[in-house]
């Protein structure tokens, strides 16, 4: 059912999409440019990809960032899911306003403030015995988890809000133990939300420059920090190649995830219709 949309609005909409995609497309096109001059077309070439793959520092930075993002995403998914359960299933507990405030504030808090405040915390905690001796991997992961758990919570929370609680109750009435109920009923039903929360936390962590710059020690260089110091000096074709790789990987991931989730949703719908008829 398509409702009437005036041509003016259509025009603005497609211009908007063009605006969103022209920069990304130009980066992809010019990553295959032979010329070192980033904006003059000198023929097709993949030499910048070769250059990128020989750049040991860049590769080390990428590997470090991927590790940080992986640990962050796992931690944030666990914490964010717990927070979402607390907000949806615990009703009105004492301090709920403060709790939900602390969960959602990092969504909008300017990064310079979050970064500075976490660094000052790590410096203040440094003399304590359980803290890591130098800032680096662990402090960045903690900072990223604090930032990204808010996103996971929002996603899981909206899934839990539409969750049919009678499914859990039916399983319990049939004598299933709480952990079994969680494993066989709750977890599969919220799995899509957990997956998108994990992915979002992963990409946000992989992308973060400001918070990582504050919380990293002097010898830690994540990929965004390396990109930033290169880009500050001007445009380099190598970064175009890197951007193209990252954009393609993300696009493939998001499209595949989207298709899988849509299929799962359809199957779930069919199952529940069958059950209703049954």
């Amino acid at each position: 059912m398509s409702r009437r949309v005036s041509p003016g609005i259509r025009l603005v909409m497609w211009t908007g999409f063009l605006f969103l995609y022209v920069p990304i497309l130009s980066m992809i096109v010019f990553s295959f440019n032979e010329s070192k001059l980033v904006t003059v077309w000198g023929g097709f070439s993949t030499k910048w990809y070769g250059e990128l793959l020989r750049d040991r520092q860049m590769l080390a930075g990428a590997w470090l960032s991927l590790q940080i993002a992986f640990v962050t995403a796992c931690g944030a998914t666990v914490l964010g899911t717990l927070a979402a359960f607390a907000l949806v299933r615990h009703g009105r507990f004492r301090g709920r306003t403060l709790f939900s405030g602390m969960v959602s504030a990092p969504l909008v808090m300017p990064e310079v403030i979050t970064g500075l405040s976490l660094l000052l915390l790590f410096v203040a905690l440094a003399p304590l015995p359980f803290m890591p001796a130098t800032r680096g991997f662990a402090t960045i992961v903690i900072a990223h988890m604090t930032l990204t758990l808010a996103y996971v919570t929002v996603i899981v929370q909206s899934r839990l809000a539409t969750f049919d609680i009678s499914l859990e109750e039916a399983a319990m009435d049939l004598g299933a133990r709480p952990l079994t109920v969680f494993r066989t009923i709750t977890l599969p039903l919220i799995a899509p939300a957990l997956a998108s929360g994990w992915l979002l936390a992963f990409t946000l962590s992989l992308d973060d420059l400001v918070i990582a710059s504050f919380t990293a020690g002097p010898s830690t260089n994540t990929l965004p920090m390396m990109i930033f110091s290169k880009v500050r000096l001007g445009v380099t074709p190598e970064i175009n190649a890197l951007a193209t790789i990252m954009v393609s990987v993300v696009a493939v991931f998001v499209v595949v995830a989207g298709v899988l989730l849509a299929r799962q949703e359809r199957m779930r719908l069919r199952d529940s219709q069958a059950a209703a008829r049954g």
């Binding site: 009437r4 990304i24 717990l82 959602s104 998001v254």
Partner: protein, 300 residues
């Protein structure tokens, strides 16, 4: 689930306690430390600020509060100017995002289901790709010998390249570009739920489309508008990367001032004082955003 938890009292409490403690330690306590250090002064030591409690004489420590940082912020007009220009840049960018994002979200919400999902994916996709690299892409487009200048010269619209990179224009462009998805998503989520029969009824009663938009659609989408504006405005005030890469050297943004005080001047107490002031200004919009979040939670 309530019953599930009631059989597992320990589990029930853990579900709340773990994220609660985490956020206390890594979100709330750090702000108190920032507040504390904003009342210290720098010293050449590790860490580079003085303690507030001095154990000089007697048994009781003496509390030393240096207000010099705040007085310095007030005395030097640079900081006030940076703060005002950040608020202005964020407000103008938010308005531009709304002017572009509203028609986009409106158009999307009125497409067929298949189109709607595809376009939604197109809005979300840039959001999943590196923000830093998307800002960098504009550097390539806006340079003196960049794609836009080359195109304009090829069309003979201009003879000399326009200087666009490292201007306020580039900074606004970068902010609108980066934050546009944050504006579209809440607006779309709101507009998609609107009941089309309301507009049909208005049309049947002889209401002109624009009038119907003003008196039906716009008021109904107010919640989405406010949510989108907060999601753009609040982080944009403290934005650092975009002004640094696209804006000119004279672009005074408070995020950049804070960064430079911290990293270049190593003046941690002053950077903390800047953060406290910024937070005080943003506290109202943040509370507004949270009320909205809470409301949507209850409505859903």
């Amino acid at each position: 689930m309530r019953r599930l938890f009631s059989r597992l009292p320990l589990g029930r409490n853990l579900v709340l306690a773990v994220p609660w403690l985490w956020l206390m330690l890594f979100f709330l306590v750090p702000f108190l430390i920032v507040l504390k250090i904003s009342f210290a002064t720098t010293q050449l030591a590790q860490p580079p600020y003085t303690p507030l409690l001095e154990w000089t004489e007697g048994v009781f420590p003496r509390l030393v509060l240096h207000t010099a940082n705040y007085l310095g912020l007030l005395a030097d007009s640079l900081y006030a100017a940076a703060l005002f220009s950040s608020l202005k840049v964020a407000a103008v960018s938010t308005l531009l995002c709304l002017l572009l994002g509203y028609p986009m979200a409106y158009g999307m919400a009125r497409m067929d289901r298949a189109w709607r999902n595809a376009l939604l994916l197109l809005v979300v996709l840039p959001f999943w790709t590196s923000f830093l690299l998307r800002v960098y892409a504009w550097m390539g487009l806006l340079r003196n010998n960049g794609l836009i200048n080359n195109l304009l010269q090829w069309l003979h619209l201009i003879d000399e390249p326009l200087v666009m990179l490292q201007t306020n224009f580039a900074m606004y462009l970068g902010i609108v570009y980066s934050y546009l998805p944050f504006m579209i998503l809440p607006l779309y989520a709101n507009l998609e739920k609107h009941d089309a029969t309301l507009l049909e009824a208005a049309a049947d009663l002889g209401c002109r489309p624009f009038r119907a938009f003003l008196s039906i659609t716009l008021p109904l989408s107010m919640r989405g508008i406010v949510a989108g504006c907060m999601l753009v405005f609040i982080p944009a005030v403290g934005e650092f990367v975009i002004p640094r890469l696209l804006g000119g050297t004279d672009s005074l943004m408070i995020g950049r001032v804070l960064w430079d005080e911290f990293f270049s001047n190593r003046n941690w107490p002053l950077a903390s004082a800047v953060a406290v002031c910024l937070l005080l200004i943003l506290v109202l919009p943040i509370l507004l955003f949270q009320r909205l979040q809470d409301d949507t939670e209850k409505h859903s």
